[in-house]
């Protein structure tokens, strides 16, 4: 069976409630990012941040296939992964603003959010830098005899980093329960990935005899059922997998990347936003299938927006860390 034929049969078997939940998860990310951008534009957020808008189906679809005690590692574009794994909006915004109430007491910021309680071992500002951590977490799960699985999220740019190949070799050799999820949004910052990448993405993992799959990363249904299959394999001790999700970021590389025409056209952006928005795609399908209706979706939107606004409010009002925090937590 091809990946998509396989998907179609599996999609039918998923609970209706779950699609609605996935919609809510994706919307939560979308709304979070819109607020984050707003905070930047109104100069309330220190530094820069990398928005995940457009790629929501990947984080949501993959994390839906995970248990709360499964691990993920994330990237500089990490809000989506963090939220999809179960983090709270308020503590995330607080972290983005450098407040003590944030997930990392304000010390990590957007690029380093970690949340042990939901198995998020941390966003990482070194491209590819978390490949070892995710692989090690999977090794640890195997050694401790739990049936936890680890997911390593990364952009296609991380295929430039040798570390990834080193750890994929070991994961494959020793059958670690780890899924490498490559989010191919076409760009390494401001450079198209075809200018930096020889061969095909999936062949990079075939090199290690690893199970691979490639999906439309805008279609959460495909992402979810494929992730389910790979996660179950891994959990059953059948080894790691490499999942390529083809996607697109709707905004710039970071919030300050406004004039983008020198590296990608307005038309390309428009095409993806209008034709391939993961939220629209899922909403339309759910309505066509009679899974849900506008009223339900609207209510979800109202709720999520309210939650996000309250969360921003909380974060804005939260105090900065006390100054003696500066040299605390250097050592455990």
């Amino acid at each position: 069976m091809t990946e998509s034929a396989q998907s179609t049969s599996q999609i039918a078997s998923v609970d209706r409630e779950q699609w609605v939940h996935l919609y809510e998860q994706m919307l939560k990310i979308r709304v979070f990012e819109t607020q984050a951008n707003q905070l930047y534009l109104s100069a309330k957020m220190p530094g820069l941040t990398h928005l995940y808008s457009g790629e929501e189906a990947i984080a949501a679809g993959v994390c839906e296939a995970l248990r709360i005690d499964d691990y993920i590692t994330s990237t500089h574009r990490g809000h989506g992964h963090c939220l999809a794994k179960g983090a709270r909006l308020d503590l995330m915004f607080a972290e983005l603003l450098g407040k003590e109430a944030g997930y990392c007491r304000g010390k990590g910021g957007s690029m380093h959010i970690a949340d042990q309680d939901t198995g998020n071992l941390g966003a990482n500002a070194i491209v590819g830098g978390s490949a070892g951590i995710a692989t090690g977490a999977a090794m640890s799960a195997k050694m401790r005899g739990t049936d936890q699985v680890a997911v390593c999220f990364f952009g296609e740019g991380a295929l430039g980093q040798g570390l990834l190949y080193e750890v994929m070799n070991m994961a494959s050799l020793w059958k670690f329960p780890v899924i490498y999820v490559c989010e191919n949004n076409l760009y390494n910052e401001y450079t198209h990935y075809t200018e930096t990448t020889a061969g095909t993405l999936v062949d990079r993992a075939h090199a290690f005899g690893m199970e691979t799959a490639e999906v439309n990363g805008q279609d959460v249904r495909e992402v979810y059922v494929t992730a389910m299959r790979l996660v179950e394999r891994a959990r059953a001790g059948e080894g790691p997998a490499f999942l390529v999700c083809n996607t697109y970021r709707f905004f710039g590389h970071h919030v300050g990347d406004i004039n983008r025409e020198y590296y990608r056209s307005k038309e390309e952006e428009e095409l993806w936003k209008t034709e391939r928005d993961p939220l629209t795609l899922l909403a339309e399908w759910m309505q066509a299938e009679g899974i849900t209706d506008t009223a339900v979706l609207d209510q979800i939107e109202v709720n999520v927006k309210a939650e996000a606004e309250a969360a921003v409010e909380f974060a804005l009002n939260a105090p900065y860390p006390s100054l003696d925090e500066v040299d605390r937590h250097v050592y455990a």
């Binding site: 304000g106 040798g162 930096t196 860390p321 925090e325 500066v326």
Partner: protein, 333 residues
Amino acid sequence: MSTPNGTPREISWAQAINEALTEEMRRDERIFIIGEDIAEAGTPFKVLSGLVDEFGTERVIDSPISEPGITGIVVGAAMTGMRPVVDIMFGDFITLTMDQMVNQAAKTHYMSGGKLKVPMVMRTTLGATRRSAAQHSQSLHAWFSHVPGLKVVVPSNPYDAKGLLKTAIRDDNPVAFFEDKMLFQAKGNVPEGEYTIPFGVANILREGSDVTLVATSSMVQVAEQAAMMLEEIGLSAEVIDPRTMFPLDKATLIESARKTSRAIIIDEGYERYGVTAELAAVIADGAFYYLDAPVKRMGAMDVPIPFSPVLEDLTVPTPQTVLEAAKTLCGRV
């Protein structure tokens, strides 16, 4: 050292670097530059904007995100007749290049008994306070400075950046060139026309008699501001910028400390086992019989750089903290 003869102008650090590369690439077609997002994007900091228009993608090369790989390739290209520059976007990523820089580039000339040469430059950054958190804010120039075979440059203003980069490109050895990412837009006087600045010659920015402030890179401005504040309270500070960590102009540092009898070293690297240790040790040794007080070290606080602005600002020396240290050293408390 060739001296400038052009008319004075104010340009930014970014422009000065851009000019240095442009002039050198025109002069010598063996020079190319490789790095991530450096061609059409001209680096995320826009420092190299326009370079690709003149020299094309053959000589201004966008690379994969492969710091070890591009550094290694540059070493091989340098050994075989090219004079490459590799752009490492953030100084925090030199962690990925240590093997190629230290075990390969730095040792090739010596290990080959002087036969092979590695004329390459690594451009990278240092400096915090950009709210970029722990993996994008480090100043790791002490590591390369520790390694025989490498030269290390830490310019503090656009004029020096241009002249030192030209010298680096013309040097027959691997040179690491650290630029403070917070200074890219800072303006300075950079006359038109050709000039270079030799390595190993410190710059005395301000003469003084009560205390010597030795400052590097981003910390030179801080020292200068502290010196002005000190002047207001009647203390005369000498400000010295070593410009290169290796070769190091020990004589100038020692002579100044002998004269003022007090010295403070200010550097943005972590304080412990960092640049301040070497400079302090050199001065404490060379000016031993002249010092009236211990040499004071001020580096970045020994913590991973925190994201939160209120915390990050505490980790780096400021004019105020330098002022306080100088006052204490001079017995003004």
